[in-house]
Amino acid sequence: MDTPDSPTPPKKRWIGQSVTRLEDLPLVTGRGRYAAAVSFPHQLHMRVVRSNHAHGRIVSIDTSAARAVPGFVAVWTGADVAHIPPIEFRPTKIQGLEHYRQTVLAQETVRYVGEPVAVVFARDPYQAEDAADLVEVEIEPLPVITSALDAPGEFTPGRNTEPVIVRKEFGDLRAAFQSAHAVIELDLRIGRHSGVPMETRGAIGRYDATRDVLELHGATKRPHPNRDMLARLLGRSPSSVHLYECHIGGGFGVRGEIYPEDVLVCAAALKLGRPVKWIEDRRENLMACNHSREQIHHVRVAIDADGRVLALDDEFFHDQGAYVRTHGARVADGTASTLLGPYLVPAFRATGHFRLTNKTPAATYRSPGRFESTFVHERVMDAIAAKLGLDPLEVRRRNLIPHAQMPYERPMTVSGTPVVLDSGDYAAHLDKVLARVGWDALRADVTRRRVAGETVGLGLAYFLEKSGQGPVEGVRLTVDVTGAVELVTGAASLGQGMETVLAQICADGLGVDYRQVRVVHGRTDLIDYGFGANAARVTIMTGSATHIAALKLREKALEVAAADFLEATPEMLDIIDGRIVRKDRPDAPSVTLAQIAKELTPASAVAKGRTPGLTTDGVFECKHESFPFGAHVAVVKVDRATGGVKVERYLASFDIGVAVNPMLVKGQIAGSMVQGLGGALFEEFVYDASGTPLAVTFADYMLPNLSVVPDLEILLTEDAPSPLNPLGLKGGGESGITAVGAVIASAIEDALGLPGVVTQLPVTPQRLKAILNRAR
């Protein structure tokens, strides 16, 4: 047996295990505490009066009838909140967007249907709705812009509706196009859709005069940055604003941002002296919560005779909707910087027109920018194959970044940081996928069926994801005198299973059962900082901080055990299930973490010159993101009569580096794949020419239900751990959605035998029928 200088690194007992979730028990027994279940004595209910016009000038707002409704307490219009600054967005290096922010209530102009114009407060939610219905808003219509292709109009005098053009460029584009064997041009469109969590938004503002603290309940995603923003908007110190997360019914990028309603319940709680509760209804949710995705791409690609891409030049038009909120131009920027996906391309230019229209403001939705850019680069790969008569797989193989070039630095940035693809053998992964799915047999079967008259097709799409946005994350880990472990993090839980995953990482580091660990999140009063749960970062950033904290705590516990209890050196000891034992004599006397915690109570600790408490912080810093990757394979059957598409078979692969809980990772893949299927075939926020949204119920906005979901095969690999963190982690939050639009388009095209005809998502029955009719 070797005797190392420091304690032996803990064995992996929990990491890699598909253990059941710590989160589940309250959720299956009806004890979930979502925002609507949060109530305070004497609370008021807020109802928002929204614009029915896509663009117009507010002429008058008559609140007299509303005031007569029983239970009415107050009504606010723009004038009542004119002192509150517009809602901020995440700062980036892109300048000039601040003039396009949204105020919490419209001041003089409305710019989308659903924009908050007034709010009513009443004692009961039904009464609040009654009163809001009676608020009469007269609006003088102004011309509307409903497409990012329309020429930019005037936003305010002197400012047009194209605040910025996102540009990325490297290599010699001109030379590449001049020397090209062929040039391919595609016009591609991605539809407007979004996260649409099953729980609508909810926010409860409460002011506690005993502590001079303003509370916002129903917060999530980024509690600390949101606290800081609320404090700035309402003129308070951040330490006097506390955000509380409850159970959250799904996030997907849209939930947990600061919206007008969050600010309004807080301002009202301060002004009216009563807790103020707002629960969104579904119609509001579909017209007021962030939309996403809508882009139009004109892409030109220079290729050589072997199908290698020499240059890619993409001009795209990003439909931001009515205001710049929450993410600035990040989605357009992220689209531009991921347009090359996993491919090696020597020359590149992206020109992204970030344009405002008279629709609901847009921001991030799971795999923001990448669902869009993957559709573009995979349509390009299929187009190259069609142009040169090559196998689409072979075209991809020839263009994938070779493993020998890892880590591979692209001469550009994402969100301001350099793009360094950290690890991965993309071609080897493709081989694994083909072997798993039995590609050759599948290809032969599809061909045989097509010859027999079926409209069936096979497609493949490759994708590159990114994860682990920094810059830093921390946790505080404490063992109490009963041996229970508390892990406090500034991250948030959106249902992804982060409590379980962090507990597993903690359990291995410290030497306890993961069920001993209680994870506390979404509480700005319990930890000073946190950057939240977004961009597939929690397992990487908070997980790494947890690992670091657990090792530190382990060291402290072993030191005390060695000196005070076991007459040993720390190197001779291990922690197993919360008990510190001698490695060489497991049957010798031992001591529990609970006893160590008691030994470290303040009086006892200080007497021996120690820092009190079996507690420590762990901080992890990482400036670079990690890049997981994978491929999707789909077999679809098209109904020529209806234009309907049935997905018969689907395989999603993903290399996550290290899977802390494979069952949960597969859950992320499966759930996000079905969301992707929505964006590929069903979901779309359609508007009419006047800017009126036509999808404001679940009867019009078609979420996939079980009947349209195939049995999903998942290939989860751990071949390319990230070198950027101690456990080799990559993020899985966006794992299954990125390539769905691309692969469905590819498979439909294969079924039709018409290369290049699928250019627009979602491929609705109407659009597919139009393709079939044109092909006649």
């Binding site: 299956v28 609507a36 969590p197 799904g250 249902g495 069952m663 759930g671 079980l706 979901v709």
Partner: protein
């Protein structure tokens, strides 16, 4: 309000004497007046099924039923599924099969499935998929929900056979 009505709701075997407006939905009444907040409202127009409860053993969208209509009927909600600390086989199967993520749709799926399995313990795969297609989930992709309900169906049949 002058038009309020006095009713008694029987929920999970408990009588709740209530005074309600006729327009108040069963979902809101269960949540706000009975304190049973396990039943979630996801769309309030009868599409998503998050608010599914059993009324006389039939799955019902409680957002589309008024509380006054439910008076005199036996209502069952997710809070009534477990027997004390002992989970219903469906609840345990949802945990074991990772059939929930955010958990918001879970009470609705549980009640939908309980209703279906009680009515037809030998439900076939096609019919089961058909039934489970009535509710929406945004997190799981549904497959683990199907797996969980199948697993629970097996166990419920075994329990019945063992009696």
């Amino acid at each position: 309000m002058s038009n309020e009505m006095d009713i008694v709701l029987e929920v999970n075997g408990t009588q709740y004497p209530l005074r309600v407006e006729p327009r108040r939905t069963l979902a809101d009444t269960l949540r706000d007046q009975c304190g049973l907040t396990g039943t979630n409202s996801g769309c309030e127009h009868g599409v998503c099924g998050s608010c599914t409860v059993l009324v006389d053993d039939e799955p019902v969208r409680s957002c589309l039923m008024f509380a006054v209509q439910a008076a005199g009927h036996k209502i069952r909600t997710v809070e009534g599924l477990a027997d004390g600390e002992r989970l219903h086989p469906l609840q345990q199967a949802f945990i074991d099969n990772h059939a929930l993520q955010c958990g918001f749709c879970t009470p609705g799926f549980l009640m939908l499935a309980v209703g279906a399995l009680e009515k037809n313990p030998d439900i076939g795969d096609d019919e089961l998929r058909d039934v489970l297609s009535s509710n929406l989930c945004r997190c799981t992709g549904y497959q683990n929900i199907v797996k969980a309900v199948r697993a629970a169906a097996l166990q419920m049949r075994a329990q019945t056979a063992g009696r």
